[in-house]
Amino acid sequence: MAHGPAKGLSRWLFTTNHKDIGSLYLWFSFAMFLLGGVFALVIRAELFEPGLQIVEPEFFNQMTTMHGLVMVFGAVMPAFVGLANWMVPMMIGAPDMALPRMNNWSFWILPFAFAMLASTLFMEGGAPNFGWTFYAPLSTTYAPPSVTFFIFAVHIMGASSIMGSINIIATILNMRAPGMTLMKMPLFVWTWLITAYLLIAVMPVLAGVVTMMLMDIHFNTSFFDAAGGGDPVLFQHVFWFFGHPEVYIMILPAFGVVSAIIPTFARKPLFGYASMVYATASIAFLSFIVWAHHMFTVGMPLAGELFFMYATMLIAVPTGVKVFNWVTTMFRGSLSFETPMLFSVAFVILFTIGGFSGLMLAIAPADFQYHDTYFVVAHFHYVLVPGAIFSITAAVYYWLPKWCGNMYNETLGKTHFWLAFVGLNLTFFPMHFVGLAGMPRRIPDYSLQFADFNMIASCGAFLFGAAQILFLFNVISTIRGKHKATDKVWENPEGLEWTLPSPAPYHTFSVPPQVK
């Protein structure tokens, strides 16, 4: 056992192995996904009927805030970092991550950050209640005392993301196998490289904005306080300068995942590899110059509204390139619909719907109608749930046999997919209608005319939640299962990870492979 994993708990506490740390990230993110899901179900249970039934409005606000924070920073981002930890070294022929000790640290500070964040629920004054966007002065002058814990939790999450990103960039740039040129890298590696650059550029801005809040709250500065010469609108500019690249941080690795899965099940190479790379880089660049489309209603001059409107619409071009490339990859392919492919096809279709509602929101004059309504909620859940969550799920089904050496049960996988697919659309599609009809977001009660659609949405949410329990069951029963997977797992998948045995040994590519 000279090279095997250590025994017991210390294996996980002190591990520097990229596969162990990848698994830790993935399990942690799934736990956070369930926690954030419980918060979401509290919201949907309250909104099942008009009127106040289950929770107080103050607690409802804490639920919307905590749901957003936990899902964004606890579920989606760590899941993608976990996938990167598992897959990037195996895809580029590296023995491990470039900075393995820092890798351990960047994971192990996360549980503390979220323990701190979750503990605010039990504090006097309650958890943060100002929405996940924590606009000042709601998050400064009017914030509950627990806001300081929220600020430190965000600092720790940011430090974790930054360390993870530095590690990923160093691994990709310095540890590729001989012959693995940049333009031969799998798209998942490419999208993660660009995502990691986005992360190191904007996570410090998030740290900056919460630090300014901290100063305003405790040290009498006036960054966002009008009485002292500050400006609350400044908060929104700094926040969205982080926030918009952040939404691409949550979707670019998803593009990489489906770009790996669709060719396997279409039995054709990916169409337009180079254009995929350039499209990803273009999206990343554009993400820095569109932030104010979240703030069309703050009173910008016409020139500003026009600039941010057109710049935002420009993003549809590289995104469209990607969607057409996926469709063209499938076109005339020999398609089969195993679970990862089902999730990936659903990703392409539903993410496109979310993209189109994004274009509607980008139209500045129309946005005044949509702003802060359920239409916005429908839009970003359509890009994040079938976008980020479905792609992570697809990735787990696609690579799980490689990770644990066992094949999952296809029937259960497909059942999970259809429950999730129906649940998701039942939940979020009606939100478009109530949003257009004027139902504001982040409210615990609503007018009677929205009742039917809200009831449908709540039913869908519980169905979607139940589907995730089935997912947990699938993963555990696969890990403990007896049905061995082959080394290639799928018919003819592309990539270095499939040249390894299943399950992937604890140490892989100690001798770098030759890439032709």
Partner: protein, 188 residues
């Protein structure tokens, strides 16, 4: 492991990336707020009028008349009575005009207030000069006291021609808590 690049290149790369992180943090903390303020000063976008203006001898442009309206708002939890003594005046560009706001501390405790201006339309912001304004300083008022707060302004002759009405709004903030020492000094 011979085929790998030396580890110091990883160290160097990591240090560069840390440099980016530090740089972006510094950019957010120390560059973004001043840049935002400079941008707003330049364009007048957030309606903040400038500081004290040194009046220069100019000819009054009697051919134009501009209406200046005054608005007063109390920020939440500010109990003072606060209003302009006249709600609007008609002025000629170049002409210095004095008006006052009335403030009354109707509470039982000494308080300090700060008025924050906001002016629309934003393209008039840089053509509205104040030679004297109560908003330049914090305004202490003992319990139950009243004050006429002075404002003296000049509308610039270069005011864009399409602007006929300027609305100046003051929001009064309670800054007693932040400035207990200052308020004691000023009242004495």
């Amino acid at each position: 492991m011979k085929s790998r690049q030396p580890t110091n290149s990883t160290t160097l790369l990591s240090l560069k990336l840390v440099g980016v992180v530090v740089g972006m943090f510094a950019f957010a903390m120390w560059a973004m707020p001043p840049l935002y303020n400079a941008f707003c000063d330049l364009t007048g976008l957030n309606g903040k009028t400038g500081g004290r203006y040194q009046a220069v001898e100019v000819e009054v442009d009697t051919s134009r008349t501009v209406k200046v309206q005054f608005v007063a708002t109390n920020n939440e939890s500010m109990p003072w009575e606060f209003r302009p003594t006249v709600t609007s005046v008609k002025v000629h560009p170049g002409e210095a005009t004095s008006v006052t706001y009335f403030a009354h501390n109707n509470t039982g405790k000494d308080m300090v207030a700060q008025a924050i201006p906001s002016l629309v339309p934003s393209n008039a912001v840089n053509y509205f000069h104040k030679t004297e304004c109560f908003c330049f300083n914090q305004q202490p008022l003992p319990a139950g006291a009243s004050a006429e707060l002075p404002l003296r302004f000049i509308v610039d002759q270069d005011l864009p021609r399409q602007v006929n009405t300027i609305t100046l709004s003051y929001t009064l903030f309670d800054v007693t808590k932040q400035n207990i020492e200052l308020s004691q000094g000023a009242v004495n």
